[in-house]
Assembly symmetry: C2
Homo-oligomer: 237 residues x 2
Amino acid sequence: MPHAPCPNPNASGGCAGCRVRLISVCAVLAPDELLALEAMAGDTAFAAKETLFIQGEDADAVYTITAGMARLYKLLPDGRRQIVGFALPGDFLGLAMRERYGFSADAVEPIVACRFSRSAYSAFVDARPHLLRRLHEFATHELTLAQDQMMLLGRRTAEEKLVSFLLHMRDRWARLGRASVTVPLPMSRQDIADFLGLTIETVSRTFTKLAKDKAIAIVPDGVRLMNLERLETLAAA
Amino acid sequence: MPHAPCPNPNASGGCAGCRVRLISVCAVLAPDELLALEAMAGDTAFAAKETLFIQGEDADAVYTITAGMARLYKLLPDGRRQIVGFALPGDFLGLAMRERYGFSADAVEPIVACRFSRSAYSAFVDARPHLLRRLHEFATHELTLAQDQMMLLGRRTAEEKLVSFLLHMRDRWARLGRASVTVPLPMSRQDIADFLGLTIETVSRTFTKLAKDKAIAIVPDGVRLMNLERLETLAAA
DNA sequence: GAGGGGCATTGATCCGCGTCAACGTCCGGC
DNA sequence: GCCGGACGTTGACGCGGATCAATGCCCCTC
């Protein structure tokens, strides 16, 4: 549920002034289309740990994240969890546009998201093939990432998994204009473990080992990449 | 490379008579569009183990499989392999429509595939939003399957992996009109292992264990599901 | 600033699956 | 019908990462 004081980053300027517009699906929309979209959009804020939606629920809304990070995950009946992705500003939730959500999503840290009713958004897309094309590009990009993640989960060691993850996160932050050797990791160790198919203890031990080897330095809410060459060798192997 | 005697299943009737048309992306095309598509199509046959394309190559063609099974896989520099999917009749290879192939594909058994040059196909799609929509549905379906596979690879045990795989293959054959408790498995044990993130020995041992438990029976080129209830319990857990 | 709860780290031990090795089975060729 | 090679199965053993358990470290609350 949206929280009361909504620090809407789009408040001034609307969609045209949205700071994630150019990296989101909205980048392909013309000014008049942005205005039409704006009429459908509802900005919502979510507190840390708050739920956006749950796997199996009626998919009545789609979202573009404008601030913060969400985790997307599936659960087994016995509680085992697999995080299938982390959503950052500019990311679109609801590519599938199915009747029901295929995974659950909740906020790692406070989030602001642009919300659309699925039926309205679907009609909007149907009338705009260039937006559909954009959505398809996003979907195939996600599919490629998912296949990379299959390789990681099925065939890589714990150390390779963690290093690949760090380099991947660095690249994602870089695309958001936050290129740095310091990689923010707002998610918990448990989240990282559930993304990489490991346990929290193995994640922690592997971080410690990499830090001992001076490949990384552990800093508050993230890591600093100290030896990129070595890290890239570990990830490539 | 295509082999000489090409047993083209579409030869009589063209696209309109294609036996996978209604389950392929082509199902949404009108008769006149099928004729236009037919002019672009080239049917090709591949022998078992023959390569359709290799990861990283220029993606100059897209395919719809019309007969046989292909394996889609990624390799690490040291030879570790992850199979990201098996393609069956009706499946489309080239959803991404990127400059380069994101994975390699080769024939598990003799294949017949409908081949299109990527540039021509891309132009064809651009002029037909309903086909783009169909491709997007295929892409999001693949994405959902990929996320299920992430759950399987990251969080399931060897036995759960194998049972889930068997039930999944049964459902795929069923959608092709070959519903049966006997599940054909034309791929090798090594292929199954590389799909499930296991070794060939573990796959073999797990098959033997399931057969000893009378949950399955191992038959030439497949398995017979003997105790569906038990198998479904194992897969759900 | 004392208490407490959530998260992370570290150590000891265990075990599922990988590794290594031997053997069996099928099948195609000559 | 014998041979050879590819593929599959089975057994013995080892290891990477899971499990179990204790401790540490924040940070929040009162």
